[in-house]
C-alpha cells in the first residue's frame, strides 16, 4: 500500500463526511417540512482489487477507504397507506361536521329568534284574537304574526338552499362549476396529474438516490393530500411508482391519469338537486358515468353526501325537507281551521259543506254597516309562486287577508249547511258570502271559538305531514334529530381525529427528523472529517519526509 493510497483515502473520507454532513444539514433544514422523511447516509467500506487477499499486506492494499453505499429514507409505506385511509375518513367526517355545524347554526332553535319563537308569537296572537275577535289590533297581530312565520321560514329555506348551492350547486351546470365540490374535484384532478408527473420523474431518476428520496416525499405528500379529497387506495411498485384507485377503478396507473373525475349537474326539482361524478380516461373517453356510490371518503365524499338527497341521513336536503314539511303541515292545519266546514269553489268563493257540522266564520258587514258572521273569503297561507303545494320557499300570507282583516275566521258555529244563506247583503254584495239564516246568530261576532281550535293545535294536530304532532313539537323533533345526527358526526370526527393523531404520531416517530439525532450525527461526521484531515496532514508530512530524504 502506497502513501498516496492513504492520502487518497483521506481525501475520499473528507469528501464522504462532507457529503454526510450535507445530508445532516438537509435533514436539519427540513426538520419542520411537512411530509419530509429523514434521510440517512449509509456508509460502506471501499475496496480495490479483484483477488482475494491472502495476507495482511495484500488485504491492507485492497482497502480504499469509505464510500456512501446509499442514502436511505426513513419511511413506512404500510403505515403511510393506513394513515392515508384513516385521513380520508377523517377528512370525510370533518367536512361532514363542518357542514352539519352550519346546518345546526341555521336551524338554531335555542335562540329567541328561531322558528319556534315565531310559532309562539303566532299562537299568542291567536289567543288574543280568541278573546277579542272583533278587535282590529288583535286581527292585525294575528295576520302579522302569520306573516312573520312565513318570512322566517322563507328566510331559513333560502339560507339552506343558498348554502347547498355554495356546496354542490343548485342543479345547474353554472352553479355547480362555482361550487366547493367542483373546487375539491378540480384539486383532486390536479393532484392526480401531479402524481402521474412525479411517477414519471421517479422512473426517469433511475436508481435509489437522494433525488428519488425527495420525489418519494413529494409523491407521499401528493397521496396524503389526495386522501383529503377521496377515499383512494394506493399501491407502491418496486420502483417507488404509486398507482391510485378509487373503489376498484384506476385513477393513476404508472405515469398516466387513467381516471379523471368529471362532474355533471342533474336538476330534478328545486328540492332534488343532484351532482353525478364520473370518470374519463386521458383521451376523454367515459370510463364510468356515475361513481358517486364509490366515493365514500374524503371531502368530496362528505360534500356529495351532505349536499345529496338522502332524507334519512343529515343532509342540507333533510333540513330543507323538515322546513318544507313544517310549512306545508302548518299551512294545511291553519288553512283547514280557517275554512273549516266550507268548500272552496273555482271562483275562490266558499259554500257550506253539506256533510259538515262545524263552520268557520269570518266577519262581514250587513246593510247597516254592523258586523256579522260571514263565510270565509280565503285561506291564511297561500303559495307565492302559484303552486298548489305550499312549502318553505313559497309559503306566504294571503295578501287579501292582510288588507281585509275581517276575512280571518275567528268564529266557529255548529249546525248544518241549511243554517246558512247567501241572500243577505254582506259587505255590500249579495250572493258572494254566506251568513246565518237566524238573524240573531249572525251578530255573534264575539265568537272566538275558531281561534280556540287554532290554539288547540299547539297540543296535537291531525296532519299526517306533521306526524299528528303540533307544529312546535314537529319542529322540535326535527331539530333535535338534526342535533343528534350532528353530534354523532362530531363524535365520529373526534374519534377519527384521535385515531389519525395516533397513527400520525407513530409515522412521525418513524420518519421525521429529530434534532438531537442530527446534531449527534453532525458531531460524528465532523469528528470523522477532522480525523481524516489529520490523516491527510500526516500523509503530507510523510511525503515531505520522503521527498526530503537524502537532501
Amino acid at each position: 500500500m502506497s502513501i498516496n493510497s492513504a492520502l487518497t483515502m483521506a481525501v475520499n473520507s473528507l469528501q464522504v463526511n462532507q457529503l454526510a454532513l450535507s445530508v445532516v444539514q438537509n435533514n436539519v433544514a427540513n426538520m419542520n417540512t411537512a411530509g419530509y422523511s429523514k434521510q440517512r447516509v449509509n456508509l460502506g467500506t471501499r475496496f480495490v482489487g479483484g483477488l482475494e487477499a491472502t495476507n495482511a499486506s495484500s488485504q491492507a492494499s485492497q482497502n480504499a477507504g469509505v464510500q456512501i453505499t446509499s442514502i436511505s429514507r426513513y419511511s413506512n409505506e404500510y403505515l403511510a397507506e393506513y394513515l392515508r385511509n384513516q385521513n380520508s375518513n377523517l377528512k370525510y367526517y370533518s367536512t361532514e361536521s363542518d357542514i352539519a355545524n352550519h346546518i345546526t347554526t341555521l336551524m338554531d332553535e335555542l335562540s329567541d329568534s328561531g322558528l319556534s319563537a315565531s310559532l309562539d308569537a303566532f299562537y299568542t296572537a291567536a289567543s288574543n284574537l280568541q278573546q277579542n275577535p272583533t278587535n282590529t289590533t288583535a286581527r292585525t297581530d294575528y295576520i302579522e304574526k302569520a306573516t312573520n312565520f312565513a318570512i322566517a321560514i322563507n328566510s331559513k329555506y333560502n339560507d339552506l338552499a343558498s348554502y347547498r348551492t355554495t356546496l354542490v350547486g343548485d342543479g345547474t351546470e353554472a352553479s355547480m362549476k362555482a361550487s366547493q365540490l367542483t373546487d375539491n374535484v378540480n384539486k383532486a384532478n390536479a393532484l392526480l396529474e401531479d402524481l402521474a408527473e412525479i411517477n414519471k420523474r421517479i422512473i426517469s431518476s433511475g436508481t435509489v438516490n437522494s433525488a428519488a428520496n425527495n420525489l418519494y416525499d413529494q409523491r407521499d405528500a401528493v397521496l396524503s393530500e389526495l386522501s383529503d379529497y377521496l377515499n383512494i387506495t394506493t399501491s407502491i411498485g418496486d420502483t417507488g411508482v404509486a398507482s391510485v384507485s378509487l373503489g376498484g377503478l384506476d385513477l393513476v396507473r404508472h405515469t398516466t391519469v387513467s381516471g379523471k373525475l368529471t362532474m355533471k349537474a342533474n336538476y330534478q326539482t328545486a328540492d332534488d338537486v343532484r351532482v353525478t361524478i364520473g370518470l374519463e380516461d386521458s383521451d376523454g373517453n367515459v370510463v364510468k358515468s356515475d361513481i358517486n356510490d364509490r366515493i365514500t371518503g374524503g371531502s368530496v365524499g362528505a360534500m356529495l353526501k351532505m349536499g345529496g338527497t338522502s332524507k334519512t341521513d343529515l343532509t342540507v336536503q333533510s333540513a330543507i325537507d323538515l322546513l318544507n314539511d313544517l310549512a306545508s303541515g302548518f299551512a294545511e292545519v291553519i288553512n283547514g281551521i280557517q275554512t273549516q266546514g266550507w268548500v272552496e269553489q273555482s271562483d275562490g268563493s266558499y259554500i257550506p259543506d253539506p256533510n259538515a257540522s262545524s263552520f268557520a266564520m269570518s266577519l262581514g258587514t250587513d246593510e247597516n254597516g254592523d258586523k256579522i258572521l260571514a263565510s270565509p273569503t280565503g285561506k291564511i297561507f297561500v303559495s307565492n309562486d302559484g303552486s298548489n303545494y305550499i312549502n318553505a320557499s313559497n309559503i306566504s300570507v294571503n295578501s287579501s287577508l292582510r288588507t281585509n282583516l275581517s276575512g280571518i275566521s275567528a268564529g266557529l258555529v255548529t249546525g248544518s249547511a241549511s243554517d246558512f244563506t247567501n241572500t243577505v247583503e254582506i259587505s255590500g254584495e249579495v250572493g258572494k258570502q254566506y251568513t246565518l239564516v237566524t238573524e240573531i246568530d249572525r251578530y255573534a261576532v264575539g265568537n272566538g271559538k275558531n281561534m280556540g281550535a287554532v290554539i288547540n293545535t299547539r297540543n296535537s294536530t291531525t296532519s299526517s305531514t306533521l306526524n299528528n304532532l303540533s307544529p312546535e313539537d314537529f319542529l322540535m323533533a326535527g331539530v333535535s334529530k338534526i342535533g343528534i345526527q350532528s353530534q354523532s358526526i362530531s363524535n365520529q370526527e373526534s374519534s377519527q381525529d384521535a385515531i389519525c393523531s395516533s397513527i400520525e404520531s407513530q409515522l412521525l416517530s418513524e420518519t421525521s427528523v429529530d434534532l438531537n439525532e442530527e446534531l449527534t450525527d453532525m458531531i460524528k461526521y465532523q469528528r470523522s472529517y477532522e480525523a481524516s484531515a489529520r490523516v491527510f496532514n500526516a500523509c503530507c508530512d510523510i511525503l515531505n519526509v520522503l521527498v526530503n530524504l537524502g537532501a
Binding site: M31, N32, K38, A100, N101, T104, T105, M107, D108, E109, L110, S116, D120, Y123, T124, S127, Q130, Q131, N132, P133, T134, N135, D370, I440, Y443, A444, V445, G446, N447, G448, K449, G452, I455, N456, R458, N459, E472, M476, A477, V479, S480, I482, G483, I484, S486, Q487, S501, E504, S505, L508, S509, E510, S512, V513, D514, L515, N516, L519, T520, I523
Partner: protein
Amino acid sequence: MLTRTTSSQMSDSLVKYMASTQGKFNKLSTQLATQKKITSITDDAVAAKSILNAKKEINLYNGYIQNMKNSQYELKAVEDTMKSANTQASRALDVGMMASNGTYSETEMSAFKQEVDGIIKTMTSLANSKYDDAYLFSGTAALKMPYDLEPSAAQTFTDNGDGTYTKSVSDDDGNITTYTMVNSGTTETPSWQTTITNPDGTQSTRTTTSDDWKIENSTTINYNGTSDAKTIVIGAGGLEETVGVLGTELFGKGTVTTTSVFDPDAGKSTSTVELDGDGGMLTSLSQLSAAIGAGDTDAINSALSGIQKGLDNLAESKATVGLSSGRFDTLMEAYDNNVLNLTSLKSSLEDADLTSLIAEWLQSQYALEASYALSSQMMSVSIMNYI
C-alpha cells in the same frame, strides 16, 4: 429498538395538546360569557330537545294563564255590574213594597213610578255594560247592544169634560187615529156613538164598541244578544270555560202590557198589567213601573216576586262567576307551578352553575398556561445548547 421520539413529533403533539386545552378553555369562556351550558343544539342534542320542549310548554301554559287573567278581569267587570244591579234591584224592591200596601196617595205613587223608571234606565245601562269595547251581556254578539226597551205606539184616553171622550191611537209611523165617543142618548139609556177620524182626515161614525173604551200600552224588553256565551281555551285537549253570563239569565226579555178600560158609568178607568216573557230583572222592573202606574196591586206583587227571583238569579250568577274565577285561580296556580317546574328544569339543563364553571374555567386557564410554559421549556431542550 427503542421507539424514536423526534422533535417534529414532539412539537406536533404539543401543538395538538395546546389546541385541545385552548378549545376547552374557549368553550368554558363562551359558557361563562353566555352563562349557558348549552349554547348550540349540538352541545347536547337530548338536553337541547328537553330545553326546547320546556320552552314550548312554558309558553303554552303562559298563554293559558294570560287567557284566564284577561278573563278574570272581564269576570270582575261582570261581577261589579251584578253588584250594582243588585243595589238597584233592592231599592226597587223597597219602593215596590211601599207601593203595594195601597196607603200612598196618587202623587206619592207617581213618585214611586218615577223612581222605578229611573232604576229601569240604570238597569238597562248596566245590562248594556261594555268591557274592552265588547258588550258584557250579549253572549257572542259582542258588538250588538244587548238591551233596548221599546215602547209600543202610544194610546191615550181623554175625558173631554163635556161628556165626550177621546181615544187617540198612534201607529208605528206616528200617524194618529182618534176615536171620539159621544152619548146621543140619556144617562139612563145611553146611546154611545164613536166618530173615527183617520190620519188622512176622513171620518166615519159607528156605534161604540167595548174596545173603544180600552187602551193598551206596552213596553218590550228586547234582547239582541245570542244564546251562547263566550268561551276560551284554558287547557290541553280543548279544555274550555265559559266567560261571563248571558243577559237573558239576569235581565230577561219580554213584553209588559198595561190595559186600561174606561167605564163611562163609573167615570173612571181600571188598569191591569200583564207580563208576557221569561221574567228577569228588566222585565220585572218594567212590570213594577207599569203596575205602580196602573195601581194594579196584583201586578205589583207579581213584579216584586219577579224582582226577588231576579235577585236570587243575580246571587246565583255571581256565585257561578265566582266559581269560574275560582276555577281559573286553581288552574292558574297549577299552571304557575308547572311553569315554575319547567323553568327550573330548563334552567338546570341550560344555565351554567357559575361557581363550578368559574372554578373549571380557572383550572382550564392554569392548564393552558401550564401547557404553554411546558411546551416552551420542552421545545428549548436540545443537545444544541451543549455544543
